[in-house]
Every structure is written in structure tokens, then in C-alpha cells.
Symmetry: D3
Subunit: 247 residues, 6 copies
């Protein structure tokens, strides 16, 4: 099985970190191809950089998505997730999406802990878009961005563990998601300090991508997730322009 | 990895069918142990038999759940799902739950097709309990029960394909779940007649159980899904009485 | 008029307490028959004992429900309430259900105070199943279980009054339900300490059962609350097996 | 026990009809006092006459509400229901409110059948205000108004029975409310033609008023349903002006 | 363009204040006619005075609404708003309605700050009736009523600014509405103390009325906001009686 | 007052059409500056072109947004609306947003009629994101896209009028929005064929932009719509890169 991991921001070290961590998680026989965004913010933690990252994710898919079995959109918050599901020939799953679906299976309500204070309302809106707001106990952001945390994870561990515990004791979370590309791999290091199941965003994303690839469920031929009629465009990267013109 | 599949009704041939079909789906290295309910209706398609099946599922877990890595509650509608999540030491996933979570990852809204006319409102209530009603396009039941379909699958294939297509054309479903123990394995036989992704309930359940086992997310130590204080009981099967007394 | 009160846990002293208290409430001419569960936990304050109590409630109805005019399911949280409504020939009302409907008529939002810390999320889910979450201000549990309170009510009165007042001052409740078999009769003893209408769960349940019996509204002949087609079973109590086979 | 029935429209024959029908329903020892609105539309079937009827209901309560045990607001749609609950010293229940609460206890979703085409959206909004929209299957209005039906009930019986059946077969209602002052007493005449429980609005209202009077739950001393600080007014009926000035 | 401003309470000085403030806001060429209620409470801050004010608003429209282009219902909370929309020949907008729609366009969630403690639940219910509860962050009432504030605005400014800031810091509001006839014009005096957009209720109302008048969208000819069939009445002001009889 | 109209697709003739139509609508003294997207699909009627158009809208604002009083995002569906509200120094309103807010003020539920079949679910999701789903009666798409309709409006008029009427008669709409850049100006030509208020998307957008500019409500200094901390980027247009780096 071949997976394409798209990091829709433009920081290659973040992509490299995720490739390293994902390597520990993949089933035997799964190959991972990873790409970063060609353009956009160094990291995504505002509505504007998020909107740009959506375009970058589509651009990356158009260039690299030809021969994979599933796509993992590896930016917690999942820019252009539904557009990727529409345009891709394969199953696509986002990191926040996979985390929420996995956490939901733990029972009760889940909380999300992530880096970057602007993510709070954006993630609540994302969960609402998924129709899962009833399952969301809280979104707890910590001040350092995911990029900050990736650079100095040791300094963030205590802060993150405190945030996770607060979700449980103050907001009644039955499970906690540790979300964000920059936090990949940290869940296992603090899970003993959190009294409910702790979900690692990258692990949920990669394994859910494998799960979806195995379902063999096929591409919709009608409706909102079928391919669209061809449309001309201007000023786009060639692979994306071609994908739009062919679809 | 060891999975326990609990069929909470009392029809062993249904359990055998699921074991056969699940055999085709398991990852290398996954072992499956399967048990049927000790008591209750031959099949579950009313609120009363559903309530009884919840007790039977707990009874079966108490007797057989000691040394497995995850539990698959394999009756579509998932009797006592939350009670099992509370009492079990391992992750537990129900067939309807796993199907809904998998279908959600296809994007848009999913429909459910299953056998037995009384399941309609019961499944709508189940999806509401999961907090996922916004993602549900429709529940389409066909008259034969799951047990009827398991006995004569050939006769049901056309009926089921028609029901799936109606979910798409009349109710706008972006994916369809073929749910029910008795329908295990039928999705692959009609998927070419359904223009959107078709989810097989048993496959979703077994693979989601594997996914959850791999997360290693651990048992809640506090909250609604932690083990409960010990409670005395009367008139229960010994393993269940012991499990309640120990918990 | 004849009412059947089902206490679906297995503590006869709790049933006796409710019979004593209900005696003060009944209209002239109403007779009360009361039964306890044949099997299950001594008290119900977990998801597992709740699921078992649902089976026990059906079992009790099957044995004792033949010639009554209405059924009062007298365990706050109402295990198998909808299954009883399906299978019974008479109107069935649960203690939590009757309390919520009565409190709703006070205007605004109601709170629930009950014993046993695990009831919090379970009652929130129950109210959601009733479609009345918008009317629920809060569920406040106190640490002693209903069984503890029934044994030593004097010790609990202050604790319960404090909990009721907190629902008003901190959560804006316009009325408060004092719920739980073990709390039967306590509302009148603390109502002068609570500045909003205080609803006694047992009183609401018994009087709502009388109200429903008087409507003479009849059993549904179609739909989700009509009797179901007969189904064979194994391992059940004889009256329940017969009821399923006849229905 | 003394009940005050307020008919907030200005048609005395409608009040008389309700007194006649209510006489068949009251418990031994219950006395009924009934009043019509002093001003307003002859019947209420628009948003404007509804708003005026709310004022008229308060005016009637102020004049006649002194020494009763509960108030029945007997216009289906319940103008100024929450204002009456605020201002009255006793429990107040509306005809639509009582009907919805009673129907809810039948399980599943209820439908409403009433006369006057403009009531459709108004009743959906009323049910939403009660926070019970999830329990509402449908509102089916018939063209004749309640006043028309009261004048010639025989002509309307077939129409009403057809409307009730349509709620069941087309909209999946598990019970049906026959609402409206002008329809008082008709439910018993068509209930054998409707395959689910049929709720008579007036019966639900009067009996729920008795139920609430018996709870002895008391008037809120704080919050949105407590009495308000005194307020001066101009141009109102004297009793209402006095009630506002005293409250 | 001619606007009719209806102040449905009976305090002429409040109407005069609004006329003064509105004069600063109107587009060139807009004329404003303003009327107070003929009957009802001196101010509206309870459910009872609110219900009466609804009737008074209709009465005022009937007398003064003949030749205007739009109607501004200038009591924050908008008594009988939907009835006015039904009965009026022109677009009608309420002060709370216009404020909520304007605040919504700021993005995110809005809070409401107003005078009079009883308005809290009433405004939450109003926002729910508008179907906009998801956009509402909080309703913060201050103890002085709108009438008190209108008499001594200097004393209230600090209190109001504190309340607005609390909505932002404690409840996450992205904008704040300063609502209430008595608070007209105060927003500009405290906006520099509030770190998010501050909406003045009267300004939103008057300008939204101009906006609606300009759309020229016309009166509904069918449905719930079309004129109703004529209805006889008793005891009403002559213009209102005539309007009902003609409609 | 100066408005910036952003057409985030790349068809200049569509922008020109909107400038022509907007000219008829503006208040005296309002100047309109209009820009098209620099890159992206010729028209937007899929999730992918929508995501790209969001980036293009930000890019256009960064280049042209310096000295205007409000921004009108003139693509019905409003790509990157919330990101523009975040990044802009002025009030921003989208065409679909303004239309929904204006239609809401008509009372009851509104429907949307637009061109391009893929818009149906996308617009339902947009309305949900606005938290206004309860007010939405239906989205009716017609097969020709907005671009097709703009080219040959005469051919589409009958189709559009039929679609509007269907929204009223089949889905109970109390008002209808004619949405889409390509449909600008058509509402006045069919409004006499639609029995409820008909809202022109462009008119609602431009006038709401004027309304917001007049409120002078100011930019949020905290929260989700305040400017964000500066972030570096790669591969973006210079003005947008600078705006992100400065913000």
C-alpha cells in the first residue's frame, strides 16, 4: 500500500519529523511518500494561512497523487479536506478528522490539545463542519505554535500534559487528542500523566488512511464527492490546472 | 493481536458466518475469537430483544474477554455498546459505530441499509446517541430480517442494491453502509451497482477494532468510561457477577 | 385503577420504601402492585448495571404486567424505558421521564439532583434521548448512591439541599428534580430551602402514570411502539420468553 | 381543587363548549371556573390575533385568578404562556404544552392536527420554544378553523381522521394530538380510525393542570418565573394594572 | 424614505431620546415618524409587560403605519415582531433583530449587554426564535433597567463598559451589542474601552430598516407572512380592529 | 465611502457585469473599486475551485484593500470569507452572507436559488457555518452555471422563476435569494412571478457593505478576528506576503 502524506505548510523540517514518526507506525508493506506545500505560510495558525494552505494541499495532490492508495492530509485542522475528497481518486483523510473519529470510538466526549492560540475557534468550527460538536468537550490551545513545539519538544511536554489533564478535570473529556504536525510522537511521552485515552494525531491519521485504503470502497460517481466537470483556469501550477481541466 | 467478536444474539450460524467473512479481512497476525449470546432472542429486531441482547453482550464479555486486545460488538445497532466500553479493559467498537465512523471519513452524509423494518427508528436513535445525526442521510430498511437474508442471500441482493441506490438518488447519500451481521460479505457483491462508496459493516467493525487496538490508547482511569466501584448482584452468570464485584 | 411499579434493581427494601411513599400520593381508587428485579445489581449506578436492569425490567413486566392500567418504571434513569413502551399493552412511564415532563411544565430549564456520581453523563444522555437537552440546566450528582441515601436519609438532607440550591444559583435552573428511588419522599423535607419548584421523582412518576392511564389513548398498532412479530428465544425467564413469542 | 380555564379568544360559545367537555374529565372534587378574553379576535389563527390574545389572557388571569389552584390556558398554541407562568401565583399549563408533554410520554415522535392553515408555522415555533422539536413529527392543519369545526363538528370528523392517519403513514408519527379549543371532545369519536394513541388537547390540558396542582411544587422565588418588581402602567384593565403594580 | 419607529412601551421620554439619537444616523432624505405605545407598562422588563407591549406595537402600527416605507420596532427584545411582519404592508425590523444580524456580519459570536436583569433568559429565547443561538456568546444584563440608564447615563457608562469587556474576556465574544432603547447613543462613548466591534442597537435598527426599504422586496403573498383572512374582534382600538377586519 | 468588490474567480466579464449592476444600487457618494482573482478557475462551482478562490480573494485584498471602507466578497458562497474578516482592516461581507442576513429579516425561512448543480451541498454547509441552518428552507440549484446564465440571461429567466416558485410551494420558503455573480440584476425581472420577497444577492451584498461601513464598529483587537502575529511565507504574491508578514 502506498500513502501520500501532504504537509500543506511550507516547512520541510515539519514534514521530515512526520515522516520519521510515521515510520514507526506503518503496517508492514505500507510505503509513505511525503510532500510539503509549494507556497504559503511557514506554519498555519490563522484563518488566512489556513485558506492558502488549502490551495497548497490541492496543488501538492495534483503533482504527487497519481499512484497512491490513500492520502493523509497532515495539518491538524485539515485545510481543503473536503475539496481533496472531491478531487482525489483515492480516499483522503485529514489529521484532525482521523483524530476525532478515533477519539469518538473511545466513548463519550473528546478534547483537543494543540499549539497556537488562534486554533481554538478554528478547530471548533472544523468539528462543527464534521457534524461532531456534541462529542467535543473542549479545545485547549497552548501558546507555543506547533512549529515552536517541534523545535523544542522537551520544553513543551509539561505544558501539554497540564493542558490534557485540565481537559479531563475541568471539561469532563473522556479522551484527549494531541493534535498538530509539530506534536507528532509526543503522546506516548505524556500518556502516563493523562488519566484518559490519549490520541496521537499523526498516528490516527496514518492508520485511518490505511484503514480507508483497505475498505476498497471506491470513488463516488455521483454527488458532492464525485469528480467535477472540467473547468479552465489561469495562473495555477500546471498539474493542478491539468487536474481541473481533466476532472 | 487477538480480537473478541461478540454476537449478542443467540444464533450460532450467524456467528459462524461472521467468522468466515472476518477471516478474509484480518491483518496477518490477528486472531479472532467469536462468541454468541447465551440467552435472548434468536435475532434482534425490536427494542425488547435489543435490551436483552445488551445484557447478553456483557455476559459474553465477562466470560470470554480476559485476554484479548480489542472487542468487536458484532450486532448492527450495538446493544450495550457504552456499557461494554465502561466495563471492558480493552477498546470496544460496535458494528454500527465502526460503520458510521468509517462512512463519515468518505465525506458528506451516509445512509444505512439493513434488514428488519423495526430497525429504522432504533438506528436513527443510535446515530443520535453517537452525536452524528447531521451526517446521517437516511436509514432504509428492507422487509427481510438479517436472519432471513443470511439464509438466502441470493434472493436479497437485488433488493439491497435497489435500497442502496434509493438512498443515493432520493436522499442524497454520499456513502452507504450495508449493516447487519446477516449481511456480512454482501457489500462486495453489489458495490458495482451503487454509485457511491459502499461500507461493509463487518469489515468496518473488524478493521476499526484492529485500528483501536494499535492505538494503545489505554483504559480511562476517571470519568464515565473508567471501571466502576464494585457492586453486588443476584441472579447473574458467574463471570459477570464476578466482573461487577471486582470492578 | 391498577398501577404496576417496577423497581428494576434487586433491593427489595428500596421497593418497599417506594410503596410506602407512593401510598401517600395515589388518587382514591388507585391500587399499586410493586415488584423488584429478579436479577442484576443491588443498585444501578453504572452503565453495566443499567443495561442489565433493562433486561430485568422487561422480565418483571412479563411476569406481573397482565392486568394493570399503567406501568411506572421506578428507577431514575429508566432502564429499557422504550423497550417497555414497545412491549407493554398499557402506557408506561419512567421516573426520570415523568420528572422531566413535569419539570418542563414549570417553565424554563430544570436541573436534576441525584445520588451516585456515575449518573451524571448517563442522565445527560437520557435527557438527550428524550430530545429535551435544551430544557436541561444541569445534572448535579452527590457522592452517596441512592441506596446510601435511602439507608440514612437524615445525613443526606443538607447535602441534597445544597446541591439543589447550587443548581439554581450557579446553573440558572428554574426548577429542580430530586431523582432516584432512594430519595423518594425527601423533596417535601427540603423544598423550603430551595427557591424554585422542587419535583419529587416518585410523585411525578406515579401521578404521570395515573394521568396516562386516564387518557385511554390506546396502544399503537403501527410503528416503533406497536407490538413486534413473534420471536423465539433461549435462556430467558418463561414469562418473558412467552411474551416475545406471542407478541 | 379549583382550576381556572382561560379561553383567550372572545367567543363565549367556545368557552362553553370547553366547559361542557371538561366536565366529563375532571377528577371528583375539582371545580372549574372558565373565562373568555375581554378583547381581541373572535378566534385566533394569525400571528396578530395571537399576540393580542396573549394580553387578553393576562387580563383575564388578573381578574379571575385569585383563588385557584392551577390555571389551564385553553387556546391551542398557548398565547402568553410563559408570561402567565411568570405572573401567576399558581402552576399554569397551556393546551398545546400539556398535549406535547403527554404525547411525549407515548414514546417516539408526535404529530399535531388542528384547524386553521396559519397555525402550521406558529405551532412549529411553539414546539421549538418548548425545546421539543426533535419529538415533533409533523403539524398537519386542515382548512376549516377551530371555530368552523366547533360549529359543525360532524362535517369535520372525516377530514380530521384522514389528517391524523396521514401523520402516521406519511410522517411516521407515533402519536397524534388533536389540538384546538374547537376540537374538544372529538378525539374519542375518531380514535378507532387512527392506528396510534390520539391525544385530546383539552383533556391533556385539564388533567395536566390537576397533576401540577397536586405536585404542590410552589412558586419560583428567583429566576425568570419569579414575580417581577412592581411596574407602573397606563391604559390597562384595572386588575392587570394592579397585578403589575403589586408584583 | 419614511420610517415609522414604534416604541411599544409607554414612556414618551424614551421615544424622544430615540428620535434625537436616530436623527444623527439617518441617510439624507429619510424622514422618521415615532410613536409610543398607548397602553402597557412604563418600561418592558418582564414577560408580562413584554406580552402587553406586543399588543401595543400592533395597535400603534394600525394607527400610524399607513404611508411609511419600513417599520423599526424599537424595543430591544422586539415584542410581537413576527406579528408585525405578518400584518404590515412594509418591511419591519426589530431592534434586537437588526442588532443580531449586524453583529453576525462581524464574524464569530456576539454578546448582548442590556439593562434589566429579567432580560437574560428572554433575550436568549429571542435569539433562539431567530435560529441564531449558535452565534450568541452570552447575554450580560446589568441591574439598572434601560429606563434607569436613560435617566442617568453618566452613572451607567462604567458599568456598561465593564459588562462589555467581560463578554469578550470571559465568554469569547467577537462583537458586542449594546441593546435597549434607553442605551441609544451610548455605544460611541464606550467603544474605545471595548476591544471588539460594538454595535449600537438603535443605529443597527434604523439603518437596517433603511436597508430593507431599499431592497424593494415586496410583501409576501402566500405563507406565514402574507396578510391573513379578515377576522372580527371586540374591545380593540378602532384602527387595529379595522386592520384585522380588512386584512 | 469607498467599497472594494472582490470577484474571486478569474472571469473579468463577470466582474464587469457586477460593476454595471452595482452602479444602479449604490448610495450617493459611494465609490466602487472592483477586482477579479489573479489565478484560479474561470468560475467556481466545485469544492476545489472554491478552495483556490479563497486564496485568490486574499491575494486580491492584499493588493487592492488599502484605502477602502468596506469589502464586498462577490462570489455567492463566499470563499475565504472568515479569513478576509480576519486579515482585513475594514468590515467584510460576502454575497451569500449578506443575502442570508437580509432574507432573515423578512421573517421565517429563506430559500436559495443559484446556478451550478454542485453548489447545493456547499451552500448548505456555508449556511451551517453561519449558524443559520434553522432559517434555511431549501437550496435549489439549476443546471446552468452562473457563467452560463450571465452569458444568456434571457434563456434562464423562466427556469429561475420556476425554481423560485418551487421553493415556496414545495419547501415553504418565506423569501427567496437569487444568488450568484452571474445572476446579478435578474431578481427585478422575475420578482412579479415569485409570491414572496425575492432578494438579489449583489444588491444585498453591496448595501450590507455600506451598512457595515456606516456602523463604524471598528476592527477587533482580540480574538479570532483580530490581526494575527506576523508569519513568513514562500511563493505568494508580494502584497499578500507583505500583509502576512506585517499583520
Amino acid at each position: 500500500m502506498r500513502l501520500l502524506l501532504i504537509n500543506p505548510n511550507t516547512t520541510q523540517t515539519m514534514t521530515d519529523l512526520m515522516v520519521r514518526e510515521a515510520g514507526k507506525l506503518l503496517s508492514p508493506g505500507t510505503e509513505l511518500k511525503a510532500v510539503s506545500g509549494r507556497f504559503g505560510g511557514r506554519y498555519v495558525s490563522s484563518r488566512a494561512t489556513y485558506a492558502i494552505a488549502g490551495h497548497a494541499a490541492l496543488d501538492a495532490y495534483a503533482e504527487h497523487g497519481a499512484d497512491v492508495d490513500a492520502v493523509a492530509l497532515a495539518c491538524f485542522g485539515d485545510p481543503a479536506l473536503l475539496a481533496l475528497k472531491e478531487i482525489a481518486h483515492q480516499p483522503v483523510v485529514g489529521m484532525a478528522e482521523a483524530s476525532c473519529l478515533t477519539a469518538a470510538a473511545m466513548g463519550g466526549r473528546f478534547a483537543i490539545v494543540t499549539g497556537g492560540e488562534r486554533w481554538g475557534p478554528m478547530l471548533r468550527e472544523f468539528v462543527a463542519l464534521m457534524g461532531m460538536s456534541e462529542r467535543l468537550a473542549f479545545v485547549q490551545t497552548v501558546a507555543p505554535t506547533g512549529a515552536d513545539i517541534a523545535r523544542e519538544p522537551e520544553r513543551a511536554l509539561g505544558l501539554l500534559a497540564d493542558a490534557c489533564r485540565a481537559c479531563v478535570t475541568e471539561h469532563g473529556a473522556d479522551s484527549v487528542i494531541l493534535g498538530g504536525a509539530g506534536l507528532a510522537g509526543l503522546a506516548t511521552r505524556i500518556s502516563d500523566k493523562v488519566p484518559v485515552p490519549l490520541i496521537d494525531g499523526l498516528a490516527a491519521c496514518v492508520r485511518m488512511a490505511e484503514h480507508l485504503a483497505r475498505t476498497g470502497a471506491g470513488k463516488a460517481k455521483v454527488g458532492s464527492y464525485a469528480r467535477t466537470p472540467p473547468v479552465e483556469s489561469v495562473g495555477l501550477g500546471k498539474p493542478l490546472a491539468r487536474l481541473l481541466a481533466d476532472s
